[in-house]
């Protein structure tokens, strides 16, 4: 393509967070990366830097990545202070070097949050998100027991809004962007996705209470309405869902005072 042939290659200085392990001290290390094609993705640049480091006998930079098309939620770099970098509505793997200028110094860090301890270099442990899901992020539907899929019509508006929330890729950028390291957007997305659907009503109260209490136990902060979460979200999930979850939580808490759930569902017929 004509445009590409005339585009100049660029050189940038990467200032990368290096940390050998969870307990090791970390520090920024500068790497010069030269003659880069602006159509290269940010992660491809890290691949190239890593091969150069390998050949020099140094340890490559550990970074999380997999699908490289913005859907698996694995990649998770904070670039120049912004989770997922300079783009809008994209994940780290969808950042291309044309977003930078020749001679730029680019800072690369892991997602920072107490609930996401650093594993190595740019990789963090986000298993706290899985724990929240395990606490209640599901609709109980034993395999084989489902009624016909069209037995229960769902208004299109509800289905579309549920889908808006379900688009979350679980990357954790919302947490990294929040000054309180709150996971409210992540939890609200799942609570809203399932709570908006008729299938999700039976467990609606239980779900929001269990997920919120697990979120708190995992060490995430509270929401103070900064909306940095939606701004950093690669799927642009709206903070309106947080308001929706708060309302759900309040109603569920109120109801649980009068109708506490039985301590155990075991027993019964016998």
């Amino acid at each position: 393509m004509v445009a590409e042939n005339t585009t100049k290659n660029l050189s940038i200085t990467l200032r990368v967070w290096r940390q050998a392990g969870p307990k090791a001290p970390g520090r920024f290390v500068d790497y010069q990366s030269k003659d880069l094609n602006p159509n290269m993705s940010f992660l491809e640049m890290l691949d190239v830097v890593n091969d150069e480091l390998t050949l020099k006998g140094e340890e490559p930079i550990a970074f999380a990545h997999d699908c490289r098309e913005g859907i698996c939620g694995t990649c998770s770099c904070t670039i120049n202070g912004k989770p997922h970098g300079p783009g809008h509505g994209v994940a780290t793997c969808q950042v291309y070097l044309r977003a930078f200028r020749d001679g730029d110094v680019v800072t690369v860090e892991p997602f920072r949050a107490a609930a996401f301890p650093i594993v190595k270099d740019l990789i963090t442990d986000r298993s706290a998100f899985d724990k929240i899901q395990q606490a209640g992020g599901f609709i109980t539907a034993r395999t084989g027991s489902a009624p016909d899929a069209n037995a229960l019509p769902v208004p299109k508006g509800d289905a579309d809004r549920a889908m808006d929330a379900a688009a979350c890729i679980g990357c954790g950028a919302c947490v990294a962007a929040c000054k309180n390291a709150s996971a409210m957007l992540f939890v609200a997305a799942k609570v809203s996705h399932l709570g908006l659907l008729p299938q999700g009503q039976a467990e609606r109260d239980r779900r929001v209470l269990a997920m919120v209490s697990t979120m708190d136990a995992m060490g995430f902060g509270n929401c103070t309405n900064q909306y940095e979460c939606s701004a950093a979200c690669p799927k642009l999930i709206s903070h309106d869902f947080i308001a929706r979850m708060n309302a759900d939580y309040l109603k569920a808490s109120w109801r649980s005072v009068f109708k506490p759930e039985p301590a155990s569902s075991a027993g019964g017929a016998g």
Binding site: E4, N5, S41, E44, N50, G200
Partner: protein, 640 residues
Amino acid sequence: MATLDSKIPPGPLADKWRNHKANIKLVNPANKRKYEVIVVGAGLAGSSAAATLADLGYRVKNFVFHDSPRRAHSIAAQGGINAAKNYQNDGDSVYRLFYDTLKGGDYRSREANVHRLAEVSINIIDQCVAQGVPFAREYGGLLANRSFGGAQVSRTFYARGQTGQQLLLGAYSALSRMIGAGAVEMHTQSEMLDLVIVGGQAKGIVVRDLVTGAIERHAADAVVLATGGYGNVFNLSTYARGSNATAIWRAYKHGACFANPCYTQIHPTCIPVSGDYQSKLTLMSESLRNDGRIWVPKKKEDCAKDPNSIPEADRDYYLERIYPSFGNLAPRDVASRAAKRVCDEGRGVGPTGLGVYLDFSDAIKRLGENGVRERYGNLFDIYHEITAESGYRTPMRIYPAVHYTMGGLWVDYNLMSNVPGLFVLGEANFSDHGANRLGASALMQGLADGYFVIPYTIGDYLATQKPGSRPNADGAEFKAAEENVRAMTKRFLDIKGREPVSHFHKRLGKIMWEGCGMARTKATLEKALREIPALREEFWQNVLVPGSADTLNQSLEQAGRVADFLELGELLCLDALTREESCGGHFREEHQYPDGECKRDDEKFNHVAAWEYQGKDKAPLRNAEPLNYEFVKPSVRSYK
């Protein structure tokens, strides 16, 4: 020689699965908790299997190399999932879905398996909706469908462009529920590096904890592999970077037969390679071909020019020229091969010369820019994001890329490999797509295997195993497997050569793509079969794996995967060389009709080729499982 008993149940096609379920052995509820099942992988097949088996009462251990089971590459599927619901009342049926899938696979799959797939497709949609998968709906609140991949009925269910993600999150939520309930023991960032065979049966695995480097042994009553496809043997593909064949390859080296490795699928509408650094190819929905016109310049010297400056008379709309009746909508494999041919002639466009134009200027004249945006806006956005070019202003550039592998470990009707106790699900097995997979069928197969097949069929095996007879993970076989893994790890680190792992992966990819890509010939395959062993030799002499074994080491992980691809690639080429016919995704230039369609040889090759490992440096053995067509008569696959 391996015994390949497909265990296809007798009787009429439509009754086989029902009768089989009624006749296979059951494990009584009180005994289920005495059995432990290892599931490797947590994509659609793995997570649905792990969740369902745990809900049945089995004790399940699930292993993934990802940091969360939600990240498996099933998540990237865009288009949709087929099911014979006939909600549109357009004449769809289980038989039609069965027939379309069988024909799409170019008559190289088992009738009974494909029919079962079509049968359970109905249950999958019910199951997913019950879990809260937000499929697209009509204003009346019922589920929406679309026609996909040239099907004549609308049977594809979808969730925007994220169907794979939503289905995976459904299975992940079911799995999460079972993890939370303590019924599944989840091991994330654990990579299976060996299979353990005790007394001829699969009884455990050895894994490496990718964070600490610890090597662990795990025993079980049965092992289920749901570890995906092997398309990354080509290095560049639409697969996730981490997708690999290590689990199935190491099972192969323990005697599990590898079936039809040469059946690979190449998708015509991907964004082309832009440079040597490239790590990934991105797919754009082939629906673009409905309104876009594909062309290259007639003259080589025009290739570097601004496409908008090339007059109409100097453009070659080659699909419209060669296939006047189908034009730009020619089937995937035909369109892919035609693009390769014009690029081989030196008429490819873009910086690398490996690209063709997909031009919307006529569509914009007809529909207006907004009309095109309404239909394809999100795809134009993806294109712009990656290339910084506007598809509205200048033609897009596209090129074919590897994106699915139909081959995989051989399994019988119960999804058990020829190694008793070793089950293989989803893309990792060979079972349902024959030589070519139709659009929106991969998600269907993954979930069919995990939700609706393995929960029944695993009982047929487990019922033959005495409860509590599971071997101890401290046994000699386990220790030997662990030693094997440790030795291999040490060997990688000790080579201290001069090239990083990526160097070898790129070179292997190039050999595979040129020798065994879209169009294969005896000569290209023989060349690849000379080059791969030489490259493998060089790898083992000259690879440089930095760091140590007792920490997170991504270079070490990659070294193991590439070492396996260096072996698998050879088997793939050998299978392609031996299969002297063209069928589906396997196209041998020597075997084609004048119009470029695949020319099958049903007399000689109406069988599954199941390769059996014979030991290091020994030629593998080619077993054949005949495909008996009882109900459908194979014909020339034609879409004209």
